[in-house]
């Protein structure tokens, strides 16, 4: 056994047990998107029918890629940069691209966690601050902006974000968001302080707690009135929608981003595994649990949203009842929600003219059910509004925000590991700097960069990053991952690797998927996605308090300089791929006279014959 030059060889950190590894991978894959993106997609794309493209995408695109990443990380036992360098020096750029994307996604993702923390801190008050409007300066009336929109909207847009009317107006740093952001990064730091040792313990909580809360919400939600309406609305299949190619595209992209592949985090996690580990089973488990969690979460969420819609519908009806009662001097409570229709019929037939003149609302449950949102709109507006109506609001609010925090934290671990592991593997920093300091430096740099998101226009920037960093670059990286492993490393070698690790070669299904089905699907998705994005000039919803009519968001075009930044965000992370390939090629050409640096990964320096 050859001794390395450095006699102080540090053993690669290992997971304490398999459970930690599985929980970490599941926690990384299961994130905020499972809770607030999948239910929304399910709802707008024909409910139960959406599951078909979703599951097809999972089987043919998601699982093969997941298996590939876990296998290659476990075999080569390096982070993303090391892995691709090992496969071929020309592919080193793929690892750097992964690292860049992980960093960029990490900084805006943790800002969302900062918002969650802010709401969490505010959930300990009675009454909840987003349930009432504050008074205006004169103390004569409620705040105008709040009255015109709603207390929930006001709390989110004004008291939390203090949002500016458009992305060009930057506003100033909001100190409360800065300290929430600092806390978010401190929490991430303390969980990662000892690398996977501390992270492995933290995931026991962060990966399992969301399931507990989702179950509690499910039980509570199902006992609330109107829950069944919400569920029926969610899952009623609309088969026609499958003819729309957009549905398939969104299903494919949802699976892709949901599984958190191409970040380099999964490669990093599996590199800390023992070499002989059944990564096929791991991949299947992670993929299936991720999708199952999405489904489970959507049931809980939509039960609650169904309750919210029913409450809104009932209060609309109550307004009408009050109008009728007052106008016709009918005794109080003679008209109830149940008897409203009969009374209305009776009154309409006897006094049609008067009824026509009354300001009666048209209350439609379907309209309320259709008011859906994804992302921050779901969590901070719709759900918080629902929570106010539930008895014991503080408890539900606290539970909900801790759940979001756990979901986000476990995904953050993957993002940060996608940055830390390559740095540690490449030994970019001198050895005497301990790992804790490296982690601290990364967290500090991320925190300082993320301060842009605490400006008045911060939310707009988060949207930019969310839509453009975490989409096209990942698709490109994943495509190159396939090419790299299957075509450069070779299908045969990869099969041997898997045989070494699991004791059986990959079945024909996996081989066919890796060879052509998945890369082809990925290419189609990538091209279609770019085409769809390029068809219209990118727009964004802006919250403008002076807008008429209010409430609602303006749809504004991104200004040119922001558009340039968007292009940069899509292109810069993937630039390393061609750049590094070019650089290495040039190096190889210039170094041809001296020791040959073969592209052949089999060349082991120990057997070089020097002539």
């Amino acid at each position: 056994m050859a001794k390395t030059k450095d006699s102080k060889v540090e053993e690669r950190p290992k997971w304490d047990n398999k459970v930690q590894y599985m929980l970490t991978c599941i926690g990384f894959a299961v994130g905020l998107g499972n809770v607030w993106r999948f239910p929304y997609l399910c709802q707008i794309y024909g409910g139960g029918a959406f599951l078909i493209p979703y599951l097809i995408a999972l089987v043919f695109e998601g699982l093969p890629l997941l298996y590939l990443e876990l296998a290659i990380g476990q075999r080569l036992r390096k982070g993303s940069i090391g892995v691709w360098n090992s496969i071929s020096p020309l592919l080193g750029g793929v690892g750097i691209a992964s690292m860049l994307v992980s960093f960029l996604v990490g900084i805006f993702y943790n800002t969302i966690l900062a918002w969650v923390l802010w709401y969490f801190f505010h959930s300990f008050q009675n009454p909840l601050p987003w349930s009432q409007c504050p008074l205006n300066d004169n103390q004569t009336d409620y705040n105008v902006e709040c009255q015109r929109s709603s207390p929930v909207n006001y709390f989110w847009y004004r008291e939390t974000l203090n949002i500016t009317p458009n992305i060009e107006t930057s506003g100033s740093l909001q100190w409360w968001l800065v300290i929430c952001l600092a806390s978010a990064w401190c929490v991430v730091y303390i969980c990662l302080i000892k690398g996977i040792k501390s992270m492995g313990k933290a995931v026991y909580v962060t990966a399992t707690f969301p399931y507990l809360v989702l179950t509690i919400f499910l039980i509570r939600g199902l006992t609330l009135p109107g829950a069944i309406d919400g569920l029926v609305y969610l899952f009623t299949p609309n088969w026609d929608i499958l003819k729309n190619p957009r549905v398939w595209l969104d299903a494919a992209t949802q699976i892709f981003f949901s599984l958190s592949v191409a970040f380099g985090g999964l490669i990093a996690f599996s590199s800390y595994n023992e070499e002989r580990n059944n990564c096929e089973r791991d991949a299947l488990l992670v993929g299936i649990i991720n999708s199952a969690t999405s489904l489970y979460a959507s049931i809980s969420i939509f039960a609650i949203l169904g309750f919210k819609a029913t409450t809104a519908f009932n209060s609309c009806q109550q307004d009408n009842i009050l109008t009728l009662t007052n106008h016709f001097e009918i005794p109080d409570k003679n008209i109830t929600l149940e008897t409203y229709d009969q009374w209305f019929e009776h009154l309409n037939s006897t006094y049609p003219k008067e009824i026509a003149n009354l300001p009666l609302w048209h209350c439609d449950l379907q309209t309320y059910l259709g008011q859906s949102a994804s992302g921050t709109g779901l969590a901070f507006i719709l759900f918080t509004e629902a929570v106010i109506e539930m008895p014991g609001s503080q408890v539900w609010a606290v539970l909900f925000f801790i759940m979001l925090l756990s979901l986000g934290l476990s995904s953050m671990f993957g993002n940060i590991e996608g940055v830390l592991t390559p740095i540690n593997d490449l030994k970019l920093l001198p050895k005497w700097i301990p790992n804790e300091v490296v982690t601290a430096i990364i967290c500090l740099i991320s925190f300082l960069t993320a301060l842009i998101f605490t400006l008045g226009s911060g939310n707009y920037w988060v949207e930019v990053f969310n839509n453009y960093v975490g989409s096209v670059p990942l698709l490109i990286i994943a495509f190159f991952e396939f090419i790299g492993v299957i075509y450069v490393h070779g299908m045969k070698n990869f099969s041997e690797d898997i045989y070494f690790m699991t004791g059986s070669r990959p079945s024909i299904f996996w081989r066919q998927c890796w060879l052509w089905i998945s890369p082809l699907l990925l290419l189609i998705v990538l091209v279609a996605y770019v085409i769809v994005q390029a068809q219209e000039y990118p727009v964004y919803p802006a919250w403008n308090a002076d807008r008429e009519p209010f409430p609602g968001t303006d749809t504004l075009n991104y200004p040119e300089w922001v558009f340039a930044i968007i292009i940069l965000l899509c292109v810069v992370p993937v630039l390393p791929i061609p750049l590094v390939a070019l650089y290495r090629l040039i190096l190889r050409c210039t170094k041809k006279s001296s020791a040959r640096t073969d592209l052949n990964p089999y060349s082991n320096d120990g057997f070089q014959i020097e002539t």
Partner: protein, 207 residues
Amino acid sequence: MLFSSERISKDASDGYKVRLSIKTALGDQAYLWDEKEMFLFRSTMAYAMRGQLNQQFDVSNIIVCEETARVSFWFVVTSPLNTSNLVDKKSVEEAVRKHRNRINSAFLLTDETLEFEGIPRTLEAPFTPDTPPWLIVFGVVMGAVVAGIIVFIGFSVVQKKRKKNKKTPEDEDSEEEESRGKTMENGAANEGVYNMSFTDEERFTRI
């Protein structure tokens, strides 16, 4: 002297319409609206007017008309000095606003369920404590996190110092032992062709 209902309707500019929603407010505990309750209303209004104008208002000064099954009615207030004069609307409104709380509690109702048409409800100022509660929670969480960070870092510094002290006496011997026991990575992607004859039995890790 009784005013006829026509008189009151014409003088509606000085009268107020009142609506009570007793069942909405009290549910099962709702009381029946009868002439005793009406008497209570009139005396409560007289009390409010006394407080406002400092004149000896009496129950007879509060005239009620157009009572309906809704439980709604009109009322006007006559001046105790001259019963043919009505007290102006503004004074009545101010009296009601000042004593709203007392009037509501007499009937176990709220601003919404005991409605004076035209008199807006008193706004409840949201209770703002001196220290925002969220800062308290923030302080607790951050304090715990920062304390944890300091503990961890302190712990690892202490551990490293101990390792250093232990290592300097037994330098060369232990290094040999350590490096032999550890798994080696020689940096190459592939150790050449994997030679199957040296595989051990255990190929699968068990959870």
